[in-house]
């Protein structure tokens, strides 16, 4: 396989040769290609992400871990993150969206938190198109079925329809977890000689090169090149949640990491790299679903519902007991080493040997030049005087009948939003969802927002508005906005106009976040959201979380009594 087919550039390949001191073999090249993809390596976005404010009194864990964590007092913390599953959903909407939910939920319980709420942000083409309808229905059903089965309420979200998303829908899922601060877990393996355990689903050929796939534009070819579609197994995930949280309660693990994009390669590399350790993995010990899988396939598979566990010394037996109780098999597939090298064995045969740091930190970073797109100047020339005269009544009716404004009950009625019996402001009743925290007087509020048309017309102000809207939505239910997560859904950053959109939007978001005192604690970047036709609107989705310190002081949006005064605040 040629490195270019794997999405690596000539310069990147030279860098790899330097790290390796020799030609990499196919597996080694594959490991670099997934770790250095935009999805895992953030090579186009990292410099921009530095603009975001990440500090604040409430921040326990900022960006860099599986999810961000904030302090909400009394020893409690909230863990949250949003993530995209855009390209898989474009190919197979039901499974793509379902596995997107599965992935973000794993990010949360990996940190030791119990997932307590889900939200989602969805964007599709216009509903008069049959394929779009299918995508829409499939995505909503996929999100619903997965979250419903897990018993995590899906409490909020947004849906928006515009032609720019016709070929490339956006499917972002957010999860919030609750954890006692002393039970927070990070994905760190610190002790050479620790076994590395893999638990959950068996490994199949699905999703190989999903990470690279997510980092390319959608084209006719991608249909042919696409990885075998991953099918979600929410029941397996539910068992994993319960079993993994038990391990944490009993303090049995050093490190825990979910397997997401780039499968074993990235989860192992990321777990051992923080303390400068290495690892050796024997692919023959990985339980498989299919016969004849090569080391390449085993290492790069993105099969869902799998977790990596690094046990505390002497806890292996108890861990095995707990997994057995939940009907899960855990396999020891390798061990942590001291030498900073990632070694892959196939039994006796060594099949790959790569310096861990080269994978996790070696990825080059690109600072690109942006260019102001032509449409922007036109948009700036806008003035309300240029608008045509319209009949106000007709305009009003047309607005109300737009799917973008109409009730979203069709969507949220498919989501169990009440399981866990915490949801006190239900979908459709407030600008943000509100959940009580049992045993306290506190409540948490959460919302996801982005007006992508505004971001398109003016990325800088649009970025600001996304943050401001989220914060306002929280304020409207009576919550103090605390921190946010975000998913930057943009087109191909190698195009200067797109890079400019990205840059400006991040600047705007950052400025607004500083003013409002709401730092970012986690996020995800999804670039290359383009088809041969067009790029999507720049869509930096903001998921914001806030607190009500007295849940009785909450407010939904219904008018309460005849005769009450109606005020309009602001300018």
């Amino acid at each position: 396989m040629n490195y270019r087919d794997l999405g690596l550039t000539d310069d990147e390949y030279k860098l790899i040769l330097d790290f390796m001191g020799r030609e990499p073999n196919e597996l080694e090249l594959g490991m670099f290609s997934v770790m250095w993809s935009e999805h895992c390596g953030y090579k186009n976005s990292r410099p921009l992400l530095k603009l975001f404010p990440t500090r604040g009194a409430c921040v326990i864990q900022g960006p860099g871990e599986n999810a961000g964590i904030i302090d909400i007092g009394d020893g409690d913390a909230l863990v949250f993150k949003i993530e995209s599953h855009n390209h898989p959903s474009a190919i197979e909407p039901y499974q793509g969206a379902a596995t997107g939910v599965g992935g973000i939920v794993r990010d949360i319980f990996t940190m030791g938190a119990r997932p307590i709420a889900l939200l989602n942000s969805l964007r599709f083409g216009k509903l008069d198109d049959e394929r779009v309808k299918e995508l829409f229905a499939g995505v909503v059903a996929g999100i619903g079925d997965y979250g419903n089965c897990l018993g995590i309420p899906t409490v909020g979200g947004e849906v928006y329809f515009n032609d720019c998303y016709k070929e490339n829908p956006l499917v972002n899922a957010m999860c919030i977890g609750l954890v006692k601060q002393e039970e927070i877990k990070k994905a760190v393996a610190g002790r050479a000689g620790s076994p590395i355990m893999l638990v959950g689903a068996k490994t199949g050929r699905d999703g190989i090169h999903g990470a690279t796939f997510a980092s390319e534009e959608l084209s006719e070819e991608s249909a042919a090149k696409r990885p075998a579609v991953q099918v979600g197994d929410p029941f397996m995930e539910k068992l994993l949640i319960e079993a993994c949280l038990e391990l944490i309660k009993e303090d049995l693990v050093d490190g825990m990491q979910d397997l997401g994009a780039a499968g074993l390669v990235s989860s192992v590399a990321e777990t051992v790299s923080k303390k400068g350790k290495g690892a050796v993995i024997d692919v023959l010990k990985v339980p498989r679903r299919e016969e004849g899988m090569t080391p390449y396939e085993v290492m790069l598979s993105e099969s869902q519902e799998r977790m990596l566990i690094i046990p505390k010394s002497g806890c292996e037996k108890r861990i095995a007991e707990i997994f057995d109780r939940w009907g899960l098999d855990a396999a020891v597939i390798g061990e942590v080493t001291d030498d900073g090298v990632f070694r892959v064995q196939e039994g006796e045969r060594k099949v790959a040997e790569v310096p861990v740091k080269a994978l996790t930190e070696g990825c080059p970073v690109y600072v690109r030049e942006g260019r102001v797109p032509d449409y922007y100047k036109e948009a700036q020339d806008f003035s309300p005087e240029k608008l045509p005269e319209v009949d106000l009544k007709e305009a009003w009716i047309r607005l109300l009948s737009s799917p973008n404004i109409a009730s979203k009950k069709w969507v949220y009625a498919q989501y169990d939003y009440q399981v866990m019996t915490n949801t006190v402001i239900l979908p459709g009743h407030g600008d943000a969802a509100v959940l009580r925290i049992k045993g306290t007087r506190k409540g948490l509020a959460a919302t996801v927002d982005c007006n992508s048309r505004m971001v398109y017309l003016d990325p800088y102000r649009g970025g600001m508005m996304a943050i401001a809207e989220a914060a306002l939505n929280l304020a409207c239910v009576g919550a103090k906005p605390l921190a946010f997560t975000n998913c930057l859904n943009f087109g191909n950053p190698e195009k200067p106009e797109i890079y400019w959109q990205l840059q400006e939007a991040v600047k705007g978001m950052s400025e607004a976040a500083v003013v409002l005192g709401t730092p970012v604690v986690s996020g995800n970047v999804s670039l290359y959201n383009e088809s041969t036709e067009r790029a999507v609107y720049p869509t930096p989705v903001v998921g914001m979380v806030g607190m009500l310190y007295d849940i009785d002081k909450r407010c939904d949006m219904a008018f309460k009594r005849e005769g009450d005064v109606i005020c309009l605040l602001g300018r």
Binding site: I91, E92, Q95, A201, G204, R205, D206, A228, V229, Q230, V231, G232, D233, F235, M236, R289, E290, S303, Q304, G327
Partner: protein
């Protein structure tokens, strides 16, 4: 009128969580010898057509378009009855 049977199965290699759950529970019930279970769909279609061939052609087409999801499933059609 003709009657067709459509068998829809998951492509080889595609995870079948339902089949796996059923296999496990069969083991618990004492059917230890069960090595694998895959769960697909069995669809019966009654339709008007000029001939057996046309019926087959039609059902093949609707299977590809709607009854099976080509991304993860394979299908097979059989005409089993009709004039």
């Amino acid at each position: 009128m003709y009657k067709a049977h459509v068998y829809v199965v998951l492509k080889p290699g595609v995870l079948d969580p339902k089949g796996d759950a059923v296999k496990k529970s069969l083991h618990v019930m004492g059917y230890k010898g069960v090595n694998e279970v895959r769960i697909g769909k069995f669809i019966e279609v009654w339709l008007e057509a000029e001939s057996r061939e046309e019926a087959l052609r039609k059902v093949e087409k609707m299977s590809a378009e709607l009854l099976a999801n080509p991304v993860i499933e394979d299908y097979r059609v059989e005409i089993v009855g009709g004039e």
